[in-house]
């Protein structure tokens, strides 16, 4: 046990650095995928066939591609197109591009859960498109969107570990660094797990609470 605690206290700065990188990746990709995913979702429910087709194509491609392949394509492939960015930037883009597809689907199905009559009634009252969207549809869609959205963000947080396989020094890479310093892998992995549970738990609790509050009445 003493040995187990020592692994953490001796290498605290390495753990802190790793998890800070993880949180940076999570924050960047998280905000990005919410924006891009919502835009894609808007495309998929728009009356413009070309945009709908583009949204559907993107979502179907990305959802059926492993995240690891998206990473590999960006990190090994794109430099061959003379696009050179840091590994961290590529990792953020990979996570953003991948997660957006899932956000898009949640937004789309959230909008579809609002009964058609709601929009018709609002338009009958003479509301403009923006009013219908912001006053009637989105507030109702928000309820069915938020819990799955949190669960997507949760998955994103866990998926940041894939970046460790592509030379980004985030939490999943800590055990590699410490192993080079002569530490055993087992205690390090246990510590990584514990820290991750600390990050993931608030998200799970929030999601469950919202589901319980909003889940019953649909």
């Amino acid at each position: 046990m003493g040995e187990f605690l020592r692994v953490f206290s001796d290498n605290r700065s390495i753990f802190v650095d790793g998890f800070l990188t993880t949180i940076q990746l999570f924050a960047l990709a998280g905000v990005g995928c919410l924006v891009v995913g919502t835009l894609l979702g808007a495309m998929r429910v728009s009356p413009i066939p070309a945009l709908r087709a583009f949204g559907a194509f993107y979502v179907n491609m990305i959802r059926n591609t492993p995240l690891t392949l998206v990473f590999a394509f960006l990190i090994f492939g794109t430099p061959k197109l003379n696009v050179n960015l840091s590994f961290f930037t590529f990792a953020s883009i990979a996570l953003l591009a991948y997660t957006s597809a899932f956000v898009c689907e949640v937004v789309r199905s959230g909008i579809n859960t609002v009964p058609v009559g709601q929009g018709e009634a609002a338009r009958a009252l003479g509301m403009t498109f923006t009013q219908v969207l912001s006053l009637i549809v989105l507030p109702q869609a928000f309820r069915s969107i938020t819990p799955p959205l949190i669960s997507i963000l949760n998955a994103l947080l866990k998926n940041t570990t894939v970046a460790a396989g592509f030379a980004v020094g985030e939490a999943g890479a800590i055990q590699d660094i410490l192993s080079e310093l002569g530490e055993k892998r087992t205690p390090t992995l246990l510590w990584i797990t514990i820290c991750f549970l600390g990050l993931v738990l608030p998200l799970i609790v929030a999601q469950r609470a919202l589901e319980r509050r909003w889940g019953g009445n649909r």
Binding site: G77, T99, A164, V200
Partner: protein
């Protein structure tokens, strides 16, 4: 779905003016998308991605064999993990639904824990912990065991949600006929739950198949790993882009076939519940969309 939505919550049927405007936006958007595609193709062309040298490898029988072996390794890991995760999920779900705390609590803890830990870290545990104790297990099994625990835990939640969502009258009627709890679960609840949850189960299997690509990180020679080998050959001008395009096509077609199967199942399930009785709604737990 598919085709023009007749009326949506957001729009009425477009009138003549809206139709004209939509057509104009449609043309603009199409041009924009075409421009994007053209730009990407131009980048490919400018950096010589279409040169024969970069594609030549893919025509060689030896390389094709490599790719085939990679594909088989992917399918092997996916198949083994699915074969182990499904029973694990059933057992864990049964534990979570048990009346005995001694079974329920550990099952709940296991399911919650394995869903919360990043899958890659689980795989690392199986891969690296034996090394600390002077042994090792094959990368295949590190991958398969990691996938089994994670997907088994997710499947357990799917099974449980399915069983819970079967109408209460079903089990009450079965108990009234004198069935024991085991009989009620296996004969009444499970068949209905599996039928309702089949699409969700299949999409989780798609997720599982995709996640076999994590084997790349622990150097299990699956499709993506093979792709890196082929793409990294300097003689052929580092053909990463052509190779990954082929690999992506393989993944996308495999998963699309599975997803189509899931959709078809869903439609069939919906059709066959002709009675007004509960078409078990796929429980909207966030985990059902999980598999991100």
């Amino acid at each position: 779905m598919g085709g023009q939505p007749v009326t949506s919550v957001l729009y009425d049927m477009p009138g003549p003016r809206a139709r004209r405007r939509n057509r104009a936006i449609s043309v603009g958007a199409s041009l924009l998308i075409l421009a994007l595609v053209a730009y990407v193709l131009w980048r490919f062309e400018a950096t010589g991605q279409f040169e024969a040298l970069r594609w030549k490898q893919l025509t060689l029988p030896a390389v094709q064999r490599e790719l085939r072996d990679g594909l088989l390794a992917t399918l092997k890991a996916g198949g083994l993990a699915a074969a182990l995760a499904l029973p694990f999920g059933v057992i864990a779900a049964a534990g979570r639904l048990s009346d005995h705390r001694l079974l329920r609590w550990p099952a709940t803890a296991i399911v919650e824990l394995f869903r919360a830990i990043p899958l890659l870290i689980l795989i690392f545990f199986f891969y690296y912990v034996p090394l600390d104790y002077g042994t090792s297990i094959p990368t295949l099994w590190a991958l398969v065991l990691g996938l089994t625990l994670y997907n088994g835990a997710v499947l357990a939640e799917i099974f449980r949600a399915g069983i819970v969502s079967v109408a209460k009258g079903q089990s009450e009627a079965a108990y009234a006929l004198g069935m024991r709890k085991g009989q009620v679960t296996t004969l009444i609840l499970l068949p209905q739950a599996v039928r309702a949850m089949l699409p969700t189960i299949v999409s989780q299997l798609v997720v599982l198949l995709k996640d076999t690509a994590l084997g790349f990180i622990i150097t299990y020679p699956e499709l993506l790993y093979v792709g890196k080998q082929i793409g990294g050959r300097a003689v052929y001008g580092f053909p990463y882009i052509p190779t990954y395009l082929v690999v992506a096509a393989a993944y996308i077609s495999m998963n699309t076939v599975l997803s189509l199967a899931a959709n078809r199942l869903e439609r069939r399930t919906r059709r066959s519940f002709k009675t007004t009785a509960d078409v078990v709604p796929p429980p909207q737990t966030g985990d059902a969309v999980g598999g991100v």
